[in-house]
Symmetry: D2
Subunit: 352 residues, 4 copies
């Protein structure tokens, strides 16, 4: 942290800052300039923040320079992590496709979507049993019945299950069915939920809040990590901007950026960011080429009848294009497409 | 809802849309133009949304024209509502000031802040016992001990208490101490929490999400209302934009806009939007002049020692300026400054 | 400027930075911390920027701390400026209303609008002869014929004229008719135009770009000032955000902020920011209460026939409300409403 | 265009709308619903806009449904265009790399950068002689001397030249040296400049304004086209959002979107959007994979000494990585990497 003193700051005011920092267990170094004096701080930045240095007499500004997250930071953990989900790895040497319906509607629809997911190259099945919807009058999901459907489809297809949790109180129930817990974009700042999934003993898929900076996204991951769970996968899904031609603006630069700041894997959701079916294929290619560790895609056997986000779901005719793009781009990026673990429980990452 | 057909749409495709709408219990009217045909829909818009009309053959777009919230809409409830909090009214004829410390730190600090709040003209005391913080390493609040402090200060000062709930599981505990439950900006999309406060039997202060549109904010209020609780006050507190000179951008236009769309009272938080002490007074004046039904202000007896948001808290020297501004602007806007209810429990709105 | 060295920076790399800064005529102070070293720079920041310090070996970041504008900065000119437009002052002790039609359409319409402007309390007439429109197919203005209309209406009413320039080549022509040159929001970054109005010998009204930060707005003013013209008035008119319920989001906080950073007057355009007639009155009140030095308002005798922005123009019935609000709020803010200069050319600021 | 009447609209008000539309040469179709009536309009939308229908009695809203640009729209020109720049094609079957220094500083630096550009696979040389800078104190370019340097380097290397115009008055001068005129992000709304390049007889590279929607970007292209110049290439270069970790947010989705709405080629600038050297390679890969028709990249022989944007310029060591990525991805996307035309003036697109 660097404290910038006001031009008119007195020697006593500068001394007061130095004294405060030292009393908080840190050290301070004073640089006197012609018009300003700068105080460099060394030590625990959180302790310094608690001193409210910006409000002190003679202080113009205080600038943080160290990253505010630790456990998930690459500064302290240079190697990129591999997270295992039901035996399927997500990490720097593989490409993992997660696919499935936005919402679980019925056993038949979910199984059909899972078959589409497999055809697209997926090794993990996504599907929502609890849906956080903007309108209280929109479809809210099947609840536990939906979790049972997902478990049945997993038994049938061998695909481990990723599904959303929307409330701290429901984490244990969802964790008893799912292989990976998804925290959605609207809940990225739901700290009680972050803490609950941090203690749930399951890997977590943490979507970026559509109004959250990359730093806040990493801080949310730190909340989970702080409860002892470092099995976290970050998912970029678009941010809210002034542009209205797409549902959200996919922040493709956030992928290499987050990979540089954190050791956690980073995947992309090209379905929700664009919100339009015809954008899913080009955005999937862009995600793979930018270096994402995986993608998460909406598929639906009959999008016209979908109870949630049908506008963006891929249909049968699109699946082959996606599979081809993935098959070509994965090796080009030095990655092996993952496959679901064999029934005897051993995970695998093999060429398609 | 209006369905816009593609230029190349066939008669069969148009007929199919009409048939779908009628099968969903609605009615459809076809307008044929030279290059396009438009179908106007009458009936239950949510039922139409479930038809996924945008994905149907021959459809270019489908545009909603009716507001998607009902219980809180002014369309169905033209008179603006008055909400009573511990006997203190918030509504169109009064001006209500809520003030207090961002976080409850100690009995002494809270009582001193409450006295400042009273001096500023406040009739309600705010203070956080549970704090949602971006960093897991930041101060998280005193928890239930903080609630007890608030209750004690209420007993001492007569000021009803507004405090934040951050998790559905904690709503009953907070409701047992507080006169009004605050849902914070990061939780505006936490639907489990919205439903819980909807059933808690206490008025709710709903802050706008910093990444949420006015429509989404009203939809969040609808979630609460749908559980039977219409005692909701909306609070504009700034949105996230590209401008970095202020913490957030106070969307002052949202106040008259929300008052026009909903019958609920709308107040402004000038402390969190600007994030700078010197902006609190001008933004308070702007809020009153734009027609807000109240303001919520951070005060702290010693901002330099504040454990949360000290940069924006008012200090003793500012209080008189705020009280003067409120005293002058309230009557100008045709409003009476509210006072806390007398101890016998009868609320009152009287001139200062 | 502060240079933050990377944790692994060597002594040679640190010495290299110090040497570079000194060779550029500055001085550098090194603060060694446990994990990082910080170099504080004193001297000409622009010279330092040219050194590209961020790209140097061992450098993590370089942070500017001094404001990048000088002539318009309040740091070097503490008293707030008063700008005179055809004898009408705009400054800290007065309140100046600029009103008129968005576009000059005919002599009759312009004169009728000028009479409405006077009734609303205006002492300056606005009206566009050259209109920058997003669509090449939209109405582009009357050109020089429109300037002549404005001059005629000025002769008739005594109201000095504010009108827009949209191209450096057209500045001299417009300056030969107008009392004040307006640079519109889409041209705030048109540096050739800024330089041309800087040399035109007329006061300038500089609207904030809807995508520009407060700092960039002030830098645009610095471009004008650098050509020797310090008669600049800043106009906040709303920024582009994710909110679509209003045309733009009025950044009301930018008013006190810009007044604190620059000595130039700051006014507000409540018509273009909201883009809705019913928001003009509340936003005007908010602008006055936040401390703006003036407002600029669209009026039109027949908004339904307006060729430009009719949706936001005030009509006769609104004028009285605006005049009342201004009459009440001006003295409350310690300001005198300005009046046009008498025909003998002496400006005046008198109570209404 | 669709007009939505208010619930309380009378028959007379509806008839008035129909009459107005017919008097403007259009036709109107009325759909009566239970709570609302909708009027569908057929005819010239610009004529309808001039009627100010939103302000008419009984009208709730008026929604445009037809695209507001025509000449560049794909609706009327289904085949995607190929633009030729000094014999080098930019279009759907090729991949064109434009590279060079942000600013022309000297003959030696420009020639060295051009050699780097060639090594990276470039067939067009970029370089700024006139620089639009946010600060009046920053380096503004060499002016005409810089244009002569570019022409000399073109003679030496055979690379046609792309360079920026910043003022309508300077277009002829720049056009006398350059093969393609670049309109920068800050000038996208400078309509006088758009009209001037529309008449200059040279192909135009139109960068998207960082605060502009895709629709406004296309409208700016329409301004150029309306003057008779359809040789326009669109360049996505990042938009301004709340995210501060990157200079701008590359809106990668805008590429397929603009290609779908317009027949013009679309390229990407990965240097300015990220603003960080380490993001250029991943964003270049993403741009190619999403389907861009080309990329424009900053290179500099000595970024540490660059007078403009040195932080983002590629250096020698990066060039090979870029060339490899382009060489692999172009054929994968079904494209041939373009080469400069032979000296006898015949352009060519051949495999590398």
């Amino acid at each position: 942290m660097v404290v910038v003193m006001a031009p008119e700051a007195t020697q006593d005011e500068i001394d007061a800052i130095v004294g405060l920092v030292r009393s908080a267990g840190g050290d301070a170094f004073v640089s006197r300039g012609v018009t300003r004096t700068i105080v460099g701080l060394v030590g625990d930045v959180d302790a310094f923040e608690a001193l409210n240095l910006r409000s002190r007499a003679g202080v113009l500004d205080a600038v943080r320079i160290s990253v505010p997250y630790k456990l998930i930071s690459r500064e302290h953990h240079a190697a990129r992590s591999v997270i295992s989900v039901g035996g399927v790895p997500i990490g720097p040497d593989t490409l993992t496709v997660i696919a499935g319906p936005c919402a679980v509607e019925s056993p038949e629809q979910t199984l059909a979507a899972a078959r589409m997911a497999q055809a697209a190259g997926a090794s993990l099945l996504r599907g929502g049993a609890f849906k956080p919807r903007t309108s209280p009058y929109a479809y809210q999901g099947l609840g536990e019945a939906g979790l049972r459907v997902l478990a049945d489809v997993r038994a049938e297809t061998g695909l481990p299950v990723v599904t959303e949790v929307i409330d701290a109180a429901g984490v244990d129930l969802v964790a008893s069915y799912a292989d990976m817990l998804q925290v959605g974009t609207r809940n990225m700042h739901n700290f009680a939920l972050l803490q609950a999934v941090g203690a749930a003993g399951r890997p977590v898929l943490l979507k970026r809040g559509f109004g959250a900076t990359v730093e806040e996204w990493l801080m949310a991951a730190e909340y989970i990590a702080q409860r002892g769970n470092l099995d976290i996968v970050l998912c970029e899904r678009g941010i809210r901007t002034f542009e209205t031609a797409t549902r959200n603006t996919l922040d493709i630069s956030a992928v290499p950026l987050a990979q540089r700041l954190s050791h956690l894997p980073v995947i992309v959701d090209p379905s929700h960011s664009g919100g339009r079916r015809e954008l899913v294929l080009p955005l999937t290619r862009a995600a793979l080429a930018v270096g994402a560790d995986g993608v998460m895609i909406d598929v639906h056997p009959e999008p016209k009848r979908a109870l949630c986000d049908g506008d963006q779901a891929l249909v049968d005719g699109d699946i082959e294009d996606i599979a081809t793009a993935i098959g070509v781009l994965a090796p080009l990026m030095g990655r092996v497409l993952t496959r679901p673990a064999a029934r005897d429980g051993v995970g695998a990452a093999v060429a398609p």
